[in-house]
Amino acid sequence: MVPARYSRERGLTSRVVLTMVLLAVLYGLLVTPFFQVSTLWGLAAVAAVAVLLTAQFRYADNVALWAMDAREVSAAEEPELHGLVERLCMSSGLPKPRVAVADTEIPNAFAAGCRRDRAVVCVTTGLRERLDVAELESVLAHEMAHLAHRDVVVATIAGFPAFCGGLIITTVSGLLLGEGRLAARLAGVVLLPMVALAVLLFPLSQLLNLAISRQRELCADRTGALLTGRPAASSAALTKICAEIESAPTAELRELRPLNGLLTVPARATGRAVADLVSTHPPVEVRVRRLTEVSQRLASGRR
């Protein structure tokens, strides 16, 4: 029997459950004020949330590809990439995602797409140049683990309250401080309570979002390493990508920054001193340590 290889990590599970509960509370907070006004407003708020979320589910994958200036590649163009992805699909039982390449020197990769049949795995040209086959495979396995875990969906849902908060703050401050007519300013004043709500929600939501992201990264690292059976290659790839990013010029990193949450390793030039609480990914040292544990388990044959 095999399930033991995918044995649960108790601590991780309980933390994931806790963040999910907090997230549910946050969604409640988002719509409750509208229900306070009237049931109609409340329902309208719920509908608006649903519409915005659906739009994100539907178009986020293409937006991500567009933002990275990536293009989908066929099996004839990139036989090696497709071959690696296909083998990972065979050994994992996952449907095959689309494969894309982004023409960027910085080595990195991301997965996007909320729908299984539209999912896409993207690597940069820099990644292809710097990693060997085993390392490249481990990165692809990590991204496919994200797809298997539906992390794109989770990230979208988790990031949504923060997204709304940001939207409200920018809209209302635009109304208040803009060149607009008096009516616009009045509208801004009327909407001030919403800003108060947003100011309360935004940081909370953002912290939660980041916590969830870090947890999902560790999960994906682990599943990816078990999928390839080569945690050492995963560690090597992580270390390489990280070293490259730290030495890369800031301008190039800025291109990647909007997608930090999606990337294998976030494009952050500095940040060693920044509290771990505000990063999308766990520190590489932590990730490599976890991978070493998987390595030791495989080596001992313990299941």
């Binding site: 029997m1 459950v17 699909c89 065979m90 086959v133 085993a134 298997a148 994906a220 945690p231």
Partner: protein
Amino acid sequence: MGFLDTLLGRSKPVKPDLDRLFALSTAALTLEAGTGFIPTGLGSVCFRAVEGGAFARMQKDVQELLDAGDGPEVELSTDSYGYTWLLARQPADDLPALVTDLHAVNATLEAGGFGPHLLCSLVGFQGPDAPGAVGRGHGAETRRLALVYLYKRGTFYPFAPLPGDKRDNALELQVRGAVGADLPFEDDLSRWFPVWGAPGL
């Protein structure tokens, strides 16, 4: 994958059914009757070599298991993606023996807990030798075909390579028509993954 697993970010392995491999013996007869393709007596199992000593021991066990008994030849090879192929050979007219070998390799790896690293098994077939029967511009060369068993899905699909990294899709669909009823066939055509240059093809 269940909702809870999604929520908790874990994946659950499916329970594979290796006994489905035995259906190949019957399917081969139907295949010959329907398309003229006959077994080559070659078959292989693909798995990924995991780092660490435990897997190296397992690999040795498998080889010893197959080398024992009547002494079927087993060849180990590694492909460009780092996957290990174990090629088993039996007389072309003894497909049941070949299927038994493949089943044994799979079962041993599975029992050792390496099920998650099993990829597929395949059995090779060759086309009828009739000259000019092909008419696709590669002359008298014998057509090759493999029936591939996807371990994770428990399903079969055909793979028919043509020279120049092309696939004979027409033949593959024809094979599905011929033996689709005998084998649990893979419905999702996007999962008919190519296995270029696989040993035993």
